[in-house]
């Protein structure tokens, strides 16, 4: 990649007001560094990934409202987590967390366990029990 080929496309980096560093060759074929504001192919890849997460969150939300799963799954998706990550944050076995996705099991959870989840998601227990109290 030549110095003047370093892409300067619009990207999500703009919001944080920073540019990333790229390596490229100058007129004499010597390597140098150039700042880049972003590149479309990866902006598209990132935006697609974010879109997908939003879909997952929306899907989980509907299933919570239909009493198909517990709010824990919604908050997990909201925080871009998956089962292994959530399990390691709350310090429980994966199968236990998965069990807590069942609304019937979730409704019987002790305050202590609920507290663990609420801490990880940085919300109150009321919000954990009722996702409509969660501002997203």
């Amino acid at each position: 990649m030549k110095k003047d080929e370093v892409p300067q496309d619009k990207s999500n980096l703009e919001s944080a007001n920073f540019k990333e560093l790229c390596y490229a060759v100058d007129e004499n074929g010597e390597y140098t560094t150039v700042n880049s504001s972003g590149w479309d192919p990866k902006t598209i890849a990132l935006n697609k990934a974010i879109e997908e997460i939003k879909e997952r969150v929306e899907n989980a939300k509907q299933r919570v409202l239909n009493n198909k799963t517990s709010p824990i799954e919604y908050y997990m998706e909201f925080h871009k987590m998956d089962l292994p990550i959530l399990a390691s944050y709350v310090g429980l076995w994966k199968w236990r967390v998965k069990r807590h996705f069942k609304p019937s099991v979730f409704n019987k959870l002790s305050n202590k366990t609920l507290e663990k989840y609420a801490d990880v998601f940085d919300i109150s227990i009321e919000q954990l029990k009722n996702i409509e109290l969660h501002a997203d």
Binding site: M1, V6, N12, L13, S15, A16, F18, K19, E20, L21, C22, Y23, A24, V25, G29, E30, Y31, T33, N35, S36, W39, D40, P41, K42, I44, A45, L46, N47, K48, A49, I50, E52, I53, H79, K80, M81, D82, P84, I85, S88, Y89
Partner: protein, 332 residues
């Protein structure tokens, strides 16, 4: 208190921390040098590790390993510690800052508040330097950022004790012992040899063979996984290749810069020629990213398009195979 530390922006966090810490201690080691000596370049497909609901592909060595190899090869000693207890981790950090010693930390990205929201995923192998503390605020030099920044002690504790794969566990590291002069020549040769070995390894998921394996997978994805998943997986490959901290072209440009610098250190003009070749291969990786992005941009891609990008990867694999064989000969 603030240590007199100079922040230099880098393309990749781990190399950047190595380079910045070395410069602080009076050794002028560039980012590509750190990357090359630490044998950072790689290609690996990790089928059993799912990242963001897609299989993981990596273009570089495992977190932490670049610094480890670099230290061994140039003869510096690094002190490393991990903690169970956040208080202890904080105490050790404060102690070092008090002794005027900037330290490297491994952190998770998800709670890194100065990163743009869109970039905050559960990725735990980010690296930064802490170079001071004012009240409850730590002074942070994050190598991928243009300038220095800060984190409160709460925010820092959160990222140091992020959970999940590669959990940092408060990982703190800093060089403690330096030789009088760095012996770069030997270290460069060792670094290059190791990279050649990795890239030419007779393993189906590693190096050149890994790239070919990935090409085969891409051909199968649309039928086996459906268009939606295929696109998601393809997007993941491009993101791993081009995201912040890669310097573009899946680290190939940084490696080319390393070869160029090495050709001067070792007075081997062949390496400079090979550097040009690696730059061209980096360009091919970028062409691949452009074509792949066309596929996941419009959802209704034909099978043909997947075969097309797969063929591109196969061409890259062939070129890299020839390249690393030549490189191996050049440093004999």
């Amino acid at each position: 208190m603030q240590i007199n530390f100079t922040h230099h922006q880098s393309a990749h966090c781990e190399n950047g921390v190595i380079s910045n810490l070395m410069k602080h201690h009076g050794f002028n080691v560039s980012e590509p040098m750190a990357f090359g000596i630490g044998s950072g370049l790689l290609f690996c497909y990790i089928p059993f590790l799912m990242v963001n609901h897609a299989p993981a592909f990596t273009y570089r060595a495992l977190p932490g390993i670049i610094f480890k190899r670099f230290a061994k090869r140039v003869g510096i000693k690094i002190k490393r510690e991990k903690f169970k207890n956040p208080q202890l981790a904080k105490a050790r950090l404060d102690e070092n800052l008090k002794n005027n010693n900037p330290v490297g930390l491994q952190v998770g990205v998800y709670n890194l508040v100065y990163f743009p929201d869109e970039y905050r995923f559960h990725f735990n192998a980010h690296n930064l330097v802490v170079y001071g503390k004012e009240g409850d605020t730590y002074l942070i030099s994050d190598p991928v950022m243009e300038t220095v920044t800060t984190l409160t002690d709460k925010q820092l504790e959160k990222v140091r004790f992020a959970k999940g794969a590669f959990a940092p566990k408060g990982h703190i590291y800093y060089p403690i012992d330096f030789p009088k002069e760095l012996n770069l020549e030997k270290a460069i040769i060792k670094g290059i040899k190791h990279t050649c070995r990795d890239m030419l390894a007779p393993m189906p998921v590693l190096g050149v063979k890994g790239i070919r394996h990935t090409a085969k997978l891409i051909r199968k994805w649309p039928k086996k996984k459906g268009i939606k998943k295929a696109n998601h997986y393809l997007g993941q490959i491009v993101r791993m290749q081009e995201e912040i901290g890669t310097g573009g072209g899946g680290f190939r440009y940084i490696f080319a810069a390393f070869l160029q610098e090495s050709s001067k250190v070792l007075s081997k003009p062949e390496l400079s020629e090979l550097s040009k070749e690696m730059t061209d291969i980096g360009d091919l990786w970028r062409d691949f990213a452009v074509d792949a992005s066309r596929i996941y941009k419009n959802r209704s891609a034909k099978d043909d398009a997947y075969n097309n990008v797969a063929s591109q990867l196969e061409v890259i694999a062939d070129k890299e195979e020839v390249f690393f064989k030549k490189l191996k000969k050049a440093i004999k």
